[in-house]
Symmetry: C2
Subunit: 430 residues, 2 copies
């Protein structure tokens, strides 16, 4: 056996503690699978005195994480600080510049700065592992970049944020509203005190940007991802979804269409029979469709100390074994230049819910607007009667261009009889 | 870009044709992901004149597949002949002896001769890829060997044979008997004319032997796998399963227990809520449980030209990139020597169905035997009454040792009032 791989760990929160534990508890089998021992030898975190439940004795301590990159006895730097900029970025850049492989769980960093970081890594010939950045313990990076390497990928869709999936699951199971369930999730520790990054879809969009780059072999492009969160999802829409045979899920979807690559995160209506519709609670799942393999789904825990540590360890074993893969699956010169397609060009079926005054002629006005914009209806549903009051009306369209849908909605929202801004949820095959 | 990787293909059936098509149709993206082109340059098959729907022009033809190994311009040998012995074995041994990496879809070969083949590959330092041998297009080998490398795996369970899963699915959906559904599956091409390898569980056992070796880091040991097929599964048991909240699935299960490693293939009752219970038709799925990652499930098409070609291509890309991994995940010196545990030592809950004469005292006799063998009952179910006739009685046990269960069954089967050999189906968490 060759000498141990010496790892520097920056960030000793939940995940950092998990990595330390894993590399100690499973040292024997990690060494067997890696062909050499893997040991953390240096660490950096904000507070040296905090009790983390793991011993730091024998480890070199650095107050400045960026200094880890310069430690001559460090072989690999693991970045678990988080955040797209600041010290995380500085550390990753310094490690690459020093010719040291980097393993990171930082999706924001990769989504925003992935293009420049990957260029630097390629130029220096160092590995950049980020299995932990998407879907926690599920090895979806390896799936797309290696396992399905023979396929032209046509579509990737995933439940990429456990907080949102937990909230939507509880809303459905208990028939409750978003705000209540969010407050409860915060109490239980399933949602952050500041939940915006999760519930506004930003976290899922970071991960989707990474998946889209891998699936379609192009540089990561976070700015091109269309993002909507789950704040506007109501108990009423979830109930209608069930009635129509759907589940509402926050999906990240990247799809190859004629004009280029679509990348979007938004609530979706997914048929109940689709495997991804049944992935509930804090679980994540990714569906990939390839021209030869067909549809493959990978499901598991998307967050937490254990699953994330598992992903970090897999990257470290790859590095110890010398198994290298270009960051986006191909060398930069061989990457695709397929353009990003704007959301307005999206084509698909839509679920539309209106609150309208219950009086004759309203449906005729609404459907006339839809007809004028070339929107074709598959079904219409109006439950209950309350003459003169607001009642929900649900419309399901055939394939429609998003731009037409938005134009129609602007006019429908302005109708006298329409009492609230219309709710629009895209329908996806799952 | 370096020079192309030159591939020899032995066997030009459905899968061989698929590999040829994939490497041609996706040549550009395979080259980008592999860092160099991958091209088939030599082939061998039984009948040169047969029309396979793919052009063989420009390829060197060999009547003797073993001669491919000696072709000096061949870099990698892909074995798609099949069969545990004979020419497939001879070709793989010759290629390894010649220092050429081998990619194979041959589960029988690996299950039976994997220990000696892997030793030879390790000694010669050549790669042996077999992603296509288990679960078709689903990259489960990569999942276990690399993606979950940081975990102590505690259990692997899978739907590993699409023919069996298709038959069990149709039996349930249409309430039909095994023999009828098998005959229909044969007509539709979902089952072979000689279906024994599939329906008797042999094929699933070959695959499970491979998964068990990978999951627990030890040499493959097919002889230690307990194998039962699906011939004895009846429409009646499937109906009772539904009533009790289960699905009947043929699972391959490898599990770490105190005494060592259990490996078994048999029909199982799985809770309907378990994700694997909903994997229907010809789909395959594998669930892996690791100490850090928790439970991960991978689902997709387990057979067919496209999915199998996808798996072969993934192995070829790994070889082209120089990404190497020891056959069973660790060098032979670092493999585990955990013993195999015989089926008699298995402990778990059981479903037991008896056909008994409907008369007073029979249940008392049966439960007395179970009590004598220390078998504790969770529930008992008797539907309908037909005094003096045979009626089904279903018993569900708490955790029971298989040896005790078998001893009890021998005595129960010998009771006067028991009209047919008892049916025993093990209950699994999924």
């Amino acid at each position: 056996m060759t000498r141990p791989l010496s790892v520097a760990l920056a960030g000793l929160g939940t995940v950092g503690g998990g990595v330390l534990r894993l590399l100690r508890e499973n040292a024997d089998l990690v060494a067997a699978r890696a062909g050499r021992p893997i040991a953390v030898t240096a660490v950096s975190a904000r507070d040296r005195s905090r009790d983390r439940g793991v011993s730091l004795s024998g480890l070199r301590w650095y107050d400045d994480p960026v200094a880890l990159a310069a430690d001559p006895s460090v072989d690999v730097v693991v970045e678990l600080i988080g955040g797209a900029d600041g010290v995380a970025l500085a550390l990753v850049e310094a490690a690459i510049a020093a010719g040291k492989p980097v393993v990171t769980a930082n999706k924001a960093l990769l989504a925003v700065h992935g293009a420049t970081i990957s260029a630097a890594a390629e130029q220096r010939g160092v590995a950049l592992g980020f299995e932990a950045a998407v879907a926690g313990g599920i090895p979806v990076i390896k799936l797309l970049r290696e396992g399905l390497a023979g396929n032209r990928i046509t579509r990737v869709a995933g439940i990429l944020n456990g907080t949102c999936n937990y909230i939507l699951t509880v809303m459905r199971e208990r028939g409750r509203e978003f705000a209540e369930v969010l407050a409860e999730a915060q109490k239980l520790g399933y949602a952050e005190a500041d939940p915006a990054t999760d519930i506004d879809g930003i976290d899922a969009a970071h991960k989707l940007a990474i998946l889209a780059a891998l699936a379609f072999g192009r540089k990561v492009d976070f700015a091109a991802v269309h993002v909507e969160g789950i704040r506007a999802v109501s108990a009423l829409d979830i109930a209608f979804a069930s009635e129509l045979g759907y589940r509402i899920k926050l999906l990240g979807i990247a799809r190859r269409v004629e004009a280029g690559i679509e990348a979007r995160v938004h609530p979706c209506m997914v048929p109940q029979a689709a495997p991804i519709a049944r992935v509930d609670g804090v679980f994540n799942a990714v569906v990939a469709e390839g021209d030869f393999v067909g549809r493959v789904m990978l499901e598991g825990r998307g967050a937490g100390a254990g699953p994330t540590a598992s992903a970090v360890a897999a990257d470290l074993v790859d590095i110890a074994r010398g198994r290298a893969t270009p960051v986006w699956g191909a060398a930069s010169g061989a990457l695709s230049d397929a353009p990003s397609v704007p959301m307005e060009a999206h084509v698909g079926p839509y679920y539309l819910r209106l609150m309208v005054v219950d009086r004759p002629g309203v449906i005729a006005d609404v459907t006339a607007v839809l007809r004028d914009h070339g929107v074709s209806l598959e079904s219409m549903l109006q439950r209950g009667r309350s003459p003169g009051e607001a009642v929900p009306v649900v419309l399901v369209t055939h394939d429609t261009r998003e731009a037409a849908m938005r134009a129609a909605l602007a006019r429908i929202g302005a109708l006298d009889a329409v009492m609230e801004p219309p709710t629009l949820i895209r329908i996806e095959p799952g």
